[in-house]
Symmetry: D2
Subunit: 466 residues, 4 copies
């Protein structure tokens, strides 16, 4: 997902909780950046990624540009170059640093960017606290958008840092170990993988199809492209009860899945050949075993955990190999709504109540809040507590077979924030459900993430459909 989209105003936050939520989300970003040194925070490992420092600054610029400059017109902006340096792609608010060169900006320093954050945080908090309820009604939607924007960048911060550190021959961990990451202790050799039962944790769940409402909830925050809500007629379909595991994927590899053009999209086959793909990103062989680089450093591939860091091309080829297909985004969303509200009868207030701490909505899903920062084997979660399908939220984003297009009747909102929401609707595929790097207060059933089909550095995995 490139990086931001517009909210439609929502009423979920009160004057009391907005400043608190602001502080909490802003603090999470700083906390996620804290294991990274000034050097780590400086470097851009590829054009698709951004430096940690840039994420820290850009999310701050967003509040300065769209909140403070608007509601505190007399306030003196930070360094005049920051608008240029930390704008991502909002062309109507001015020129910006070319994306692939973000890593060249060694000044301002990381410390200066933290000072910039603190100043803006202070001013936004001050603004929120000093505003009356009329003003708040105008400010809050922008702040809420800014916080959702920030949460997207939290995920990118982690995936970008992971990509950078993975390129270091020393394969350093992102953080000190012992921080909650479960580690398997034995290598999964190719041989072991083959010994696994053919379809170990999977079963299929039948959905009857029919007419479903797809898209945003009327009273919740959502990005513009999640609306308008609309009816879709679905044919009966089945979804796998859990994500494709590394063990499943090893069988695909061992069955020459990367060597058979009949399994691949034409463009995927060319891509695979050009880049020499033979396994998911971050997998590497040592002796006869497969290892995987994680945010806690390298370790043997665990056949029980969901496979991650695969492209759409690989997800699609795997599905074809497995005699299945990828789900449509509508199918996924209908299933997710059912899972969250089995009877379909919860009112908004009931949902609110259940979601008081929000995490409740997703059970024990492996989202950012678990701190694991890596997909988790299914049995580590208490399967019994939840009816399948498992892992709908968290662990990995799930590639769908749906190209990213506008919903019927979609209109991008006016003005700079909304100016560019639809402009990425080309050559991308929709992903659903969030990952282990997505916040529970950010994801929802109607959430549409999107990436080009060749992208692998996000936590992207596979759920099969039929």
């Amino acid at each position: 997902m490139t990086d931001t989209r517009v909210l439609t105003p929502a009423s979920e936050s009160s004057k009391a909780c907005i400043p608190e939520h602001f502080r909490k989300v802003r603090g999470t970003t700083v906390s996620l950046a804290s294991p990274l040194s000034a050097e780590d925070a400086q470097v851009q490992s590829m054009p698709d990624a951004s430096p940690t420092k840039w994420h820290l600054a850009h999310t701050t610029w967003f509040f300065e540009q769209f909140v403070l400059d608007k509601f505190q017109p007399g306030r003196q902006s930070s360094h005049p170059a920051f608008g240029f340096l930390f704008n991502s792609y909002y062309k109507t608010v001015g020129a910006h640093q070319e994306r692939p060169h973000r890593g060249l900006m060694t000044r301002p320093s990381l410390a200066e960017v933290h000072a910039y954050r603190e100043r803006v945080d202070h001013d936004v908090t001050d603004l929120l606290e000093r505003s009356d309820s009329t003003e708040l009604q105008r400010i809050e939607p922008l702040v809420t958008t800014g916080l959702h924007h920030e949460q997207q960048h939290q995920e990118l911060l982690l995936t970008d840092a992971k990509h950078l550190l993975s390129l270091n021959p020393m394969r350093p961990a992102y953080r000190e170990t012992g921080s909650g990451s479960p580690r398997s202790t034995t290598a999964s050799s190719a041989h072991d993988a083959q010994d696994l039962p053919q379809s170990w944790p999977h079963s299929w769940i039948d959905y009857p199809g029919g007419t479903h409402t797809i898209g945003r909830e009327p009273d919740e925050f959502a990005y513009d492209h999640e609306g308008p809500a609309h009816e879709r007629v679905l044919r009966p379909y089945r979804l796998a009860s859990s994500l494709v595991t590394c063990g499943d994927y090893l069988r695909f590899i061992e069955d020459d899945g990367y060597g058979r053009p009949d399994l691949w999209l034409s463009m995927g086959w060319d891509f695979r050949n050009e880049h020499g793909w033979e396994a998911p990103l971050y997998w590497f062989r040592d002796d006869d075993a497969w290892f995987v680089y994680t945010l806690d450093g390298p370790r043997p591939v665990d056949p029980r955990e969901p496979v991650s860091h695969v492209s759409y091309f690989e997800a699609d080829a795997f599905a074809r190999w497995a005699g299945a297909r990828l789900p449509l985004e509508d199918e996924w969303e209908a299933a997710a709504r059912t899972a969250l509200d089995p009877g379909g009868t919860a009112t908004h207030d009931e949902r609110d109540e259940r979601d008081e701490h929000r995490l409740g909505r997703f059970g024990n899903a492996n989202l950012l809040e678990t701190g694991v920062l890596h997909p988790r084997p299914l049995e580590l979660a208490s399967i019994d507590a939840d009816a399948p399908p498992h892992q709908l939220f968290g662990d990995t984003w799930e590639w769908t077979a749906s190209p990213y297009v506008a919903y019927p009747g979609y209109e991008p909102p006016p003005g700079p924030i909304g100016e560019y929401n639809g402009k990425f609707m080309c050559n991308q595929f929709v992903l659903r459900g969030g990952s282990c790097a997505t916040s529970a207060t950010h994801i929802r059933a109607s959430y549409r993430n999107f990436f080009p089909p060749e992208v692998r550095w996000q936590f992207t995995g596979i759920r099969l459909a039929r």
Copy 2:
């Protein structure tokens, strides 16, 4: 469209007419190639295009590989290298020449390729005539597919030759003039264009939406991706009564349409900047007037004729500029079905009768058979004869807003011919309706063409929707 797809067996041809149709279609290819010299037929002007000689040989190889090798097992093949040279991308039938190097193959000569065609034509005709009806039932579907495949290559032959000749500083015509091409005689300066009434030939046609059957007719030939036929629920929509004209497009250019990022998809804007697009492909300025290169050589842009050779990116930007959008492929198909059979009551036999000469089905549409080989101003056709929407078939392919994906329940057919039908379902958009280079015996309401959004060398134009 890359180049071929599989038929589902159809019964439309009898033993009598198949050989005749075979001779006719094969002869058309030779006829279209005839204005081109051995030099013209040799060169590949870009990786997307192929040399005329290669088209002549590849379509022939198709019959040798999929018909003769199968039904005349003892027959001696042509030169053993031909399978390598003239296979396009059928990986299961062996390795092939890399696409961008097709133009390097100066041997066999054009004359040898014509001899190859004649030998294969003779053998196929012989096979068809010698076969009994049981055999014919197995042969005919492959021959029919081969002929539709050949018709696709006829269109590519023309557009590839046009691209090649356009790069010659002498801007030579593809054929001797006087061959039926209408020419306007005065330049359309920017000033003239602005004098045109704001929306000169356009009006909107309302469609009520509702449930429509989309996809192949049960008894007609169709490619696999046109099926399965299925129901779609459409919201009410409007289609423009005619194609966007060069006059319309000039207003877009003069309104700085190529300079405003807010009108463009992000990827389109990058593409436009990288390639310096400022007008459709084949347009060029001389003094203060716009000219266009056509298969009959250069001439002033005629503001009344449909604009052509625009990418999806340009079509999409134009639509946004015009306050409209591009139609969905379902919307287009529903409208086309209505236009062809207003009451929706025609039986298959009735359609057959009406279509005896096939062109009848499309009225006086500007398809390949008119010989114009360029989009035609609307008033040159007898508008009165036809109710709108005009120009649904012929003139230019119409970009739709629909990414090219599988219909629900689509399964690619087994075997080499069908092996690769779905493998292009990625990063392409659907086009509908055929162009002035498409044969009337090839196009149909359910026909799905597809190209990447940046492609411009086909006869691709714009119909607006709302």
Copy 3:
């Protein structure tokens, strides 16, 4: 060599022989092109190469531009676009077609280019025959330059056509066989090569060094960069008595010569890795034997014949592997002068007499006139007839260790012909001695050819020095 350089006026030709020489040289070009079809003559296989048709046209344009336009001002030029199409790089006489796109010009046809040649030939011949001796004195130098220019293009025509045909999977021969090409009949397997005596045909010839005059002869035609003649002090040196053979080179290959970075220039090593070089251009393995593509088609590598189609990088690495080095161009020239005139006493007239048929000067050297068009094993020539060093002229150009720079006091001549002589003096190395595709009336001891160090499609070989 890029393609042309300026003459300094010379008096070697009389009114009688200039038209005859003109007809002969111009006829040779047509004759060399004659085995090639219109298709063959059309295609440009890489940016460095040009189509045969372009060579035919460009050499003709040279006479039209620099002779006819100057001395027949009223004459009507050929098609006005020809100046653009067939100018190579003379920026002062106007814009020109970009080099990599020469192959896209399918019009004018090959037949039209031949007609263009005939018209210009007629007019030049006419001009030469009608001019009085005063006029001739002004015309002749330009015609002589034009003919030397044409002879350079004859060599390029052959090497460019060879490159093109080599890319065809059918590996067609340039000409019908039986035309004088010696063919070895047995494959030289790696094993055979190792059985050869360690340094089979080689011995070293000692040169005492001392002061030598380097550069052009006072009364002979030469390009500007062959002057001014000047003194050079050479240290004692040795030259190999013959060219490095394919057998020698096979030992280098088998000793992992392509796998040892210590043998290579840094830039050469990078180039070798990027392009996957493992043998000279045109060599390929089949089973366990090495084959080579020649203008007469593929055949086994003959270990006795000089290795050809190696880059400077390979020549330099081979020399290092062999414990030797490449000669300096001064060393080569001093040796060549001694070989041509052992006593150093021949007067110009004596040389003229000896050179009456010119070939005499070079003994039985394997130059263009032998028609072999491939390097020839040493023993096939009558070694006894010649004292060593053998093969100084013909067979292959010999890479020297001398970067291509100006001689002391060099000044490029004024005007368009001379404008660009020095502009290639950067990142190129000098080659000496001519090849099997160089005319005997073109080569001389002072002749300096030059190419970038990575180039391989010329007949370029190796002579060792110490």
Copy 4:
């Protein structure tokens, strides 16, 4: 210059002064890096450049690899990955990080690299102090080489940091101002420049030519490629008495020097067009005035100071425009020897005495020790104190017309250090005389620097010859 070359053992240092010199040179590197933050020290701005942190580590690795590992075999090396990370290109001592990815190594941190330096410095000093004179005789040459190697990297550290900081839109200075950099205070508009006298500070100095000894002094440290010393016969020549100034260069620009292909080498012209060069690197226009980015930040171009950051292509084009040429490296060296020792009679001891503080040898030349870090206008130095030619040493490296080739009889020394000295002798040109970033204890009359002709990020300038 890529980065290191081998010494021939020299006896100039005693046991007493080697450790002191070691500490001093090593300390200079740290001092030069000290204004740069951890962020600044991390980033690689282009493949040709390296991060400051890498320079700090690589120069340290050099001592660990070639001194400590050899003379303290039992010593425990630093982190095993450092050999991989900080080897530049010594292929015989193992694999290494690919050059363009040096900036991706965020770990070890800058602080860890400084600790690495301190440990190695301690160990080398300890080794030097504990060794007896026999051992010292073996150690010293390697240490001396390591220090010269380090001094080359000091210059690269500065030029690489300058390149990086110049890309920041805020154009930050490398160091706090006030550190000795002279600044002109008024902009030099194009108009001002034209008002300068035509050839303001220049005059020509005649050299008679004749036989000169070129190459290393017998008893001084020198890199291998400075030998063997040999005789060269020079024709009479003239050198400009001072470097080409920015004022001179402005006249070249205003005379359309960047727009006239006749002034440029063919390859230079293509390069200029591809990269859009219109002025030296680091020049930029603001309103009507030219500014230049320096290590002290941006300021107006001073027409009196030597032009710098020009490529060989620009230097060559400027010389052609000025009716002059670039000097040969032999001409430069003969002039420099005469300047340093006018009578040619100084003994080695006399030179030693005069050079006690070494700077004495070069008068008040603007080398690294002045701390200016930018070329200096001629009159700021006390011209009177020195006879011309001025600025032979320091200010800017001077492009010569000599391709970088081996001297006659050159043999690269055996072993890893010397393995690669000659491997860069291809497509590079020699520069002479050092720059404002070169240490006085590093430069000498025989010193040969070399870079490809398109390179501009070094302090490279122009001295004319005739």
